[in-house]
Subunit: 328 residues, 2 copies
């Protein structure tokens, strides 16, 4: 691949994407509360890759859609994503997002909570305009699954006995639910048959899971230029990523104490990062996570076989390969 | 009136209300995240008066509705209300709500934000089940107006130059938008004609405004038993209520300095509450606010004339009288 797949998507879908950006700018306005577009613009214009709206646009186009509702739906998906980012930053007390200070730092938590609520409401207004109850059903279910995944993540935080099953539920909620809803509604709005819609859903679901597992692994190989984080950020924040869940499941008593202190209690000392990396390597936790991520990427490509042959279908397949290609 | 109007509504609508409570209990459950029903139950079972869902039920019934969708819609309205309460408590850093510790105090801000998001999503799922795009349009618009009103309130906080116009926009957002949507969707689901639906909307709008103005006034006459707050709570929190906006508009230079210090900067000293009350009385600010509240209650009753004659229509009229009847 010469161009990266998301760059190819952005080129092929350039006109659609320009229309989406137009809808986003128009709908983030507020007659009465100028802080709303300020906060939203800070995040929307920070140069996210617009992966999720591109998934909707690509899914609709590869199913032969020629209407205009896919633009509204793509903007809906981006609004839901932006709203969850605003709320996540409050929940995580984050200071940086997309390489810039977070809205909760620049304004306050209050603005982040309320502007997030506004964007959720705007997202629902946009969906209602499509007039498709099936689309509304899919996206309202996704919104519930996202919130449920986030609450689940909060309740298992720092619990080192969290299972790989629970991890998958959290990931399906906080990441995969919006990916799969994004591709599914693209097929639905295009009037694709059920098998195609199911394939698009499965693709988004598997892509989201592969994406999150790759993100977990990148915490250990460092890729600050690409993803804006440093080696061990997740570890220092006590995040229960899949490699750690796997290492805990194979830990002896002393190793368990180590994870209980660092992840469980958040008491990280000098040398712990190297010790953790050593344990992950010794138990094959990084290698196993990498194999799972590759497997989910393969499932994503396989699911696309249900969709019609199309240049965009190939690019979506490349995207699944790309999210795991960066893994050592 | 012997029974209070909201008690009469609860009696007449008892079966419907029991069905609403059943839907609320069923839909606040979460397979994966047990904290969600814990947090929600804390608030939902704290004994709110269920005014908003009763408005939807009453509006549908007085229009002759015999179906079952009004129950889902009433639960939707209560979920939206509960979600905004959870988020408000984070925004206001509140410690008490309905006489009990707030969820953000018992759990954490994170849970309040995320469980609120979950309830918003659940609300949209419930509306989608009604299959009425018009209802979805009304309630998604109301959700946007609520968030917009809350952001506007945040941006004008402690600004003593806030106008009565801006005050009305904030009140329409944070209070009246859900009242008017609640009554409007009751009429819509019943298939009422446009003039009736408009009357129901106008009733809810005026009732919400009267309700908020009465609440502003009760801060000065004390009614801890009824509303769970003490004389001067709003003043000490620096809230820009209508009586204060009116007093500021008539203030001389020294009085302006007083408001700038107490409301603007939040520096409240011994004797300031009495001084503030004196200024409000001297400028007729309490009396004028009371007259406006009575006027909005009268508008609410007048708007009901568009609706069909019905026992419930009379009780809704009594409710409008009741919210301002407590004012000295």
């Amino acid at each position: 691949m010469s161009a990266k797949p998301h760059e190819t998507l952005a080129t092929v879908l350039a006109d659609d994407l320009a229309a989406v950006n137009g809808v986003i700018r128009a709908r983030m306005a507020s007659e009465h509360a100028p802080r709303i577009p300020e906060v939203t613009a800070h995040l929307v214009e920070a140069g996210g890759k617009r992966i999720r709206p591109m998934l909707t646009l690509a899914a609709a186009r590869l199913c032969g859609y020629e209407g205009a509702h896919h633009v509204n739906l793509a903007a809906t998906v981006e609004f839901i994503h932006t709203a969850t980012l605003l709320h996540d930053d409050v929940v995580d007390e984050s200071a940086q997002r997309r390489g810039r200070p977070t809205a909760n730092l620049l304004w306050d938590n209050q603005s982040s909570v309320l502007v997030g609520d506004y964007l959720f409401a705007r997202a629902f207004q946009l969906m209602v305009e499509t007039g498709s109850l099936r689309v509304l059903d899919i996206l309202s279910n996704a919104a519930a699954t996202i919130a449920e995944g986030e609450v689940l993540q909060l309740t298992v935080a720092r619990n080192i006995d969290t299972s790989a099953d629970t991890y998958l539920k959290v990931v399906r909620g906080k990441t995969a639910a919006l990916f799969s809803a994004a591709t599914e509604v693209g097929g639905v709005i295009a009037g694709a048959e059920d098998a195609v819609v199911q394939g698009l859903f499965d693709y988004g679901d598997a892509l989201g899971i592969a994406f999150q597992m790759a993100d977990d692994l990148l915490d250990w190989q460092g890729d600050a230029g690409t993803i804006g984080k440093n080696v061990g950020d997740d570890f220092r924040e006590g995040k229960l990523t899949l490699p750690i869940i796997k290492a805990v499941s194979k830990a002896d008593a002393a190793e368990r104490d180590f994870w209980a202190r660092t992840i469980g209690k958040g008491r990280v000392e000098d040398g712990d990062l190297e010790e953790a990396h050593g344990l992950l390597t010794r138990h094959g936790a990084l290698e196993e996570t990498r194999a799972e991520a590759l497997d989910w990427a393969a499932r994503a490509r396989k699911a696309l076989e249900a969709a019609p042959a199309h240049e965009l279908r190939d690019t979506l397949g490349d995207l699944a390969s790309y999210v795991v290609a960066r893994l050592n």
